[in-house]
């Protein structure tokens, strides 16, 4: 088949830039990378056919500079721009600038991005399409009108506490504040609005009931220019902390075929109503009673798209390029959609991030000194990191996405456990211990997932302290092993240990023998 384009600019960095460049090359297209000074020798730059420097390390001066990126695309003769996720991926103004320059934006139309990027507008679209939305307001809360305070309080009590103050322009888990008591509401609204204005350039906030316990389940969607929209399957992303996903899997455990058909149908209805083209994801909460509540639509490729690729057998990025070139939904995509409610395999992804899981997942950037990723059957690793690389504090802490694919969920968990045991990372703290814990946790294995899982099941400091005890003992023994006595200073009469045949100091052999004698096998 002819390539959808001949040359594509990838407006991103890290693993997702590499992922998109790989799709370009498989489709027979050339890829243009952009990079900041921090990434001059990064993997995505080396993988690309051309690369353009766009600025210094801070995102605001490089990967968020729409003008510099459009200029780079025009200068290199690229026909299309793929934004990846994050950075400019959901900025309608960027999509519009790309189109104005005569290029193709690989993603939904800028009008759909604008309509769905405003979370409040998305809630109204869903409501009009007859899709149940999480209880809350459909209009902005007027935070600067003292005369309206009584009305807001009435509204909040009708919605029910605890509730969330959310930024209409927020996303990626940012711009959310939790309010438990009515007396905290006015302050939370003001602070939330200020934060939203500073973070997203728009201080509009709204109220949403906090559904607890809830599972976070989302649906992968594709749409073409004829208005056809299909669902490729769902992902359970309930294991989160502070609204940031840590583990994603597909299919969502415990759903019946009827549940899946209902959920996929709701997602397609919202997307169709918004005129979705290309790829997007509709997010829902599932409450204890099994009801689905619409949350929001992300008008871009998701971080976790790979698990859907493994289960559906589809290359979502390749599909995006075809759709962007104006082609109708491919036969492959339609086949995948037809089987989406009856999945025949299972995939799980863990996000390895440079974060300290003993310190509330605080960022832990630094230089990677050792980097061993797993392999073998059913394992996929999307990463752009290698040993010697510096994980910069300027960007997202995600360092690798480790995915496994197997016949069913128990087999996938066993494979993930095995794959995580193969991982070796030095120089930076990552979320690896958290993931190793999760895959051995009985509740996770039983499919008991909820957005409160991390708080209920994970005690980072306690897990770490057990490891610290082992590390100290090992370091002590190693130091004793290495502190070989200097021969001339040891008088012959001293019962100094003689070197054993294997060249080690004999205390080691003694210690080993003593241990072996006491604990055979």
């Amino acid at each position: 088949m002819t390539p959808p384009f001949s040359r594509v600019l990838v407006a991103n960095r890290g693993e997702i830039a590499l992922r998109i460049i790989r799709a370009c090359h498989e489709l027979g297209m050339e890829a243009v990378a952009v990079y900041s000074d921090a990434d001059a020798s990064a993997a995505h730059v080396r993988a690309a056919d051309l690369a353009v420097r766009i600025g210094p390390p801070p995102s605001a001066e490089s990967y968020l500079r729409a003008d510099a990126i459009v200029d780079a695309a025009v200068a290199t003769g690229a026909e299309a721009v793929h934004p990846g996720y994050g950075f400019l991926a959901e900025r309608a103004s960027f999509a519009e600038a790309v189109e104005r320059a005569g290029l193709v934006f690989v993603g939904p139309d800028h009008r759909s991005i604008a309509a769905l990027g405003d979370k409040l507008a998305a809630r109204r679209v869903a409501t009009e399409a007859g899709v149940p939305v999480v209880p809350g307001t459909l209009e902005p809360v007027l935070v600067d009108r003292p005369d309206r305070v009584a009305g807001i309080v009435d509204e909040a009590e009708r919605i029910g506490f605890p509730l969330l103050v959310k930024a209409a322009a927020g996303g990626g888990g940012r711009g959310i504040r939790r309010v438990e008591r009515v007396e905290d509401l006015p302050a939370a609204l003001l602070a939330g609005s200020r934060e939203a204005a500073a973070g997203f350039g728009d201080g509009t906030v709204y109220l949403e009931h906090e559904v607890l316990p809830a599972r976070h389940i989302e649906v992968q969607l594709l749409g073409d220019r004829t208005g056809a929209v299909v669902a490729l399957g769902e992902r359970d992303c309930s294991i989160q902390r502070r609204h940031q996903k840590l583990i994603e899997e597909s299919p969502a455990p415990g759903l019946s075929e009827a549940d899946r058909r209902e959920l996929h149908g709701l997602a397609v209805r919202v997307a169709s109503a918004a005129g979705l083209r290309n790829a997007a994801t509709a997010e829902f909460l599932r409450d204890r009673e099994g009801r689905f509540w619409f949350l929001e639509v992300n008008t871009r490729l998701q971080v976790e798209h790979g698990v859907t690729e493994l289960v559906s057998g589809l290359d979502i990025v390749a599909e995006q390029f075809g759709l962007a070139a104006g082609r109708p939904l491919s036969d492959r995509a339609r086949e995948a959609a037809a089987g989406a409610a009856t999945p025949t395999s299972h995939a799980i992804e863990v996000r390895l991030s440079a974060e300290d899981p003993a310190r509330a997942f605080a960022p832990a950037p630094g230089r990677v000194t050792a980097w061993v990723m797993p392999g073998g059957p059913g394992v996929r690793v999307d990463t752009a990191i290698e040993a010697g690389e510096r994980v910069s504090p300027d960007y997202d802490p995600l360092v690798a996405k480790l995915m496994v694919h197997a016949a069913d969920r128990p087999a996938a968990i066993a494979r993930l456990r095995r794959a995580l045991d193969e991982v070796e990372i030095g120089g930076i703290q990552t979320t690896l211990p958290f993931h190793r814990y999760v895959v051995r946790d009985p509740a996770f294995i039983d499919g008991e997932l909820s957005t409160g899982w991390v708080d209920e099941h994970w005690d980072g400091p306690a897990e770490r302290s057990a490891a610290v005890g082992m590390a100290l003992r090992a370091a002590g023994l190693a130091a004793l092993d290495e502190a070989t006595p200097t021969p001339p200073a040891v008088p012959a009469a001293t019962p100094a240990p003689a070197a054993s045949p294997d060249g080690r100091s004999s205390w080691r052999a003694e210690g080993r023998r003593a241990a072996t004698d006491r604990w055979p096998g």
């Binding site: 960022p363 000194t369 300027d394 120089g427 690896l432 211990p433 770490r464 100290l472 370091a475 210690g511």
Partner: protein, 219 residues
């Protein structure tokens, strides 16, 4: 063979360098970048009969796989109160770990290395127990004179200074916010470790700092 454990006779100072005795026991602690309170310090020693941790015999052995990978064999305690030698031998757990390269400061014989256990990265400091005891006695005398001496506040993560709440000469109380360090879009507030007066501010808003960089001094 004698042991320089924590209960060892304080008058038994180590002999001249190289007699080997001081290195029969090692004091091990989490390194200077430790961010969690309450990380323990242990003394690991060897005797002809086995390994002692803090003076207590334990079933512990380290097998090196290569220069970097090792296995720590940990004997789980046997069930007590059961008679007979054969029935309660306990079991052994093998903990796989990696040992980073040892960096040694020549002036004080303290070795530093990274140990990764179960994905946890632990920076450890190792020092011959006899030397550690000597150094501690010396410091005790000194610290009594300079109790409340200057404290260097250093960066424990790399990032950018986005707010500075104090200036040189300001009085601060323990827990008071000193500055905000942004890393990966997260704002990390740095608070005063104790009461005092800001002696010097070594950074400015907008500046990038690396781990260990001096931020300010409290006196």
């Amino acid at each position: 063979m004698t042991l320089d454990g924590p209960s060892a006779d304080a008058t038994r100072a180590p002999g001249p360098d190289g007699d080997g005795r001081g290195s029969r026991a090692m004091r091990v602690r989490v390194g200077p970048a430790s961010h969690l309170d309450g990380d323990p310090t242990v003394v690991v020693a060897v005797s002809p009969t086995g390994v002692l941790v803090d003076g207590t015999p334990v079933g512990l052995d380290l097998t090196s796989v290569d220069g970097r990978h090792a296995i720590l064999h940990v004997a789980e305690p046997a069930v007590s109160g059961v008679s007979g030698a054969a029935g309660n031998a306990g079991s052994e757990r093998a903990v796989r770990l990696t040992l980073g390269a040892l960096e040694r400061r020549t002036e004080d014989a303290v070795g530093r290395r990274e140990v990764v256990v179960d994905g946890w990265r632990v920076l450890v400091e190792v020092e011959p127990e006899a030397r550690a005891a000597l150094r501690e006695r010396a410091r005790r005398g000194r610290s009594e004179r300079v109790a409340g001496g200057p404290v260097d506040v250093r960066a424990i993560i790399p990032g950018r200074i986005v707010a500075l709440n104090v200036a040189s000469g300001d009085d601060v109380t323990a827990g008071q916010q000193l500055l905000v360090l942004e890393a990966m879009k997260m704002q990390n507030e740095l608070r005063a470790p104790r009461d005092g007066t800001i002696d010097r501010v070594a950074v400015a808003v907008g500046e990038d700092v690396e781990v260990g960089d001096l931020l300010l001094v409290i006196r």
